[in-house]
Symmetry: C2
Subunit: 243 residues, 2 copies
């Protein structure tokens, strides 16, 4: 049976999704819970790697086990064996050949900025704290330049190993909800640190360090040095995954 799970997790305590030898990751916790619940040693396939400190409102993963169990039992059993900051919110039966990583058609990330003069203790590790005023309407207009099929080399961290740096961004926007400014971006895939560099570039535009209207030229340059800084991980949430 090929189980497809939807997870929600607070990534603060984790070194991202992917299994590592000397650090605790979300994948290890999920594989441990599967072992406890099903009594089988399996490798769980995640829809993406997330970085240290990055969160997920919706993260999809799948695994194959011999034992069959009702989805209700999978949800309650997994949640029993998982730490409190990771939860299974749904369980489905996937086709035999379904792969949570390779079958993914698009993903949506959001990046939360707590934008007020004084930090909010309840957003520590949950949003990036930025104290200077952000003009969400101006930033929204700038963000539209990310939309389209482009070579995003300028927005890819050094050392990344993707085969191609061309990605399609379907939508990008900036909106405000009270003190929270949210950057939202949907695409067919994202390069290493791509969303965080997109946000850092918008903040650098807000600060006048990068000129307004130059995102197309930054993309065109295919040069990481032309784009802005890599913004902190704690504001980033994987928000939707589409198959």
């Amino acid at each position: 049976m090929n189980y497809l799970l939807t997870l929600k997790y607070d990534g603060s305590r984790y070194h991202g999704w992917q299994r590592q030898d000397n650090a605790i990751t979300v994948q290890q916790c999920v594989e441990h819970a599967v072992r406890q619940l099903f009594g089988e040693n399996v490798s769980v396939t995640g829809c993406s790697r997330t970085d240290t400190g990055v969160h997920a409102n919706c993260f999809k993963c799948n695994f194959r086990v011999k034992k069959e169990m009702s989805h209700k039992s999978v949800i309650s059993g997994m949640n029993h064996f998982l730490p409190d900051d990771i939860a299974v919110i749904s369980s489905e039966t996937a086709d035999d050949d379904f792969n949570a990583r390779f079958d993914c058609r698009s993903k949506e990330y959001i990046y939360k900025i707590y934008n007020a003069p004084v930090r909010d203790p309840f957003y520590v590790n949950r949003a990036y704290f930025y104290r200077y005023p952000l003009d969400e309407k101006m930033l929204n207009a700038q963000a539209k330049d990310y939309i389209g099929t482009h070579d995003f080399t300028s927005f890819c961290a050094a050392g990344a190993t993707s085969k191609t740096t061309v990605r399609t961004v379907y939508n990008a926007s900036v909106e405000r909800e009270g003190d929270i400014v949210i950057f939202r971006v949907e695409g067919d895939g994202f390069l290493y640190n791509m969303v965080r560099i997109m946000v850092g570039t918008l903040i650098n535009i807000s600060e006048g360090k990068i000129e307004k209207g130059t995102i197309p030229a930054i993309i065109e340059a295919k040069d990481r040095l032309k784009a802005g800084k890599t913004e902190a991980p704690e504001g980033l949430y994987l928000n939707k995954v589409n198959y």
Copy 2:
């Protein structure tokens, strides 16, 4: 100069407000920051003791120092020396004889219950997780019986040392915002664990362990054993303090 500060804090890591020898408390952190900023050793007076794990959206405290500083500098300086999960959100000049504890006229607490079948990782330590359905309209009707001037002995933890157990509750209500059920109560003062026992009693009513409509009789009994359990601290927030 008598400074009156408004704090906001995530109480998860703290053994409440009040200074203790062998545990970290919010008061110690605030006094440490005052010492760093003003170079003076002072005792900071808080509007109330909060328990281990209890939060504050609004907590008032005051302290007297010889040195004078602009409120803007106090806010930024204190926030520099405080840990991230405690923030000073405002600073005011209080009358010389103002005392944050004794001059308090009323307080409002809220208690957050995350009420859904599966826990939410982002509410861990921030709300009490209760998986069975709660009828907020029924609970709201029950909560109205807390309103008034009563001897709240039945809602006071054993070992409390208040001079009188009579308190006036001005308002009490239960409402739902999505998956969060909020109990809100305003009064001239609260006995030890009083709000948490009020919530535990409502949950016991929801579970049929305590009969509907019996809150007046429980109050009348002046017997802690007649009321419900003391609910977990993580749902409790000091929300408003009035002088």
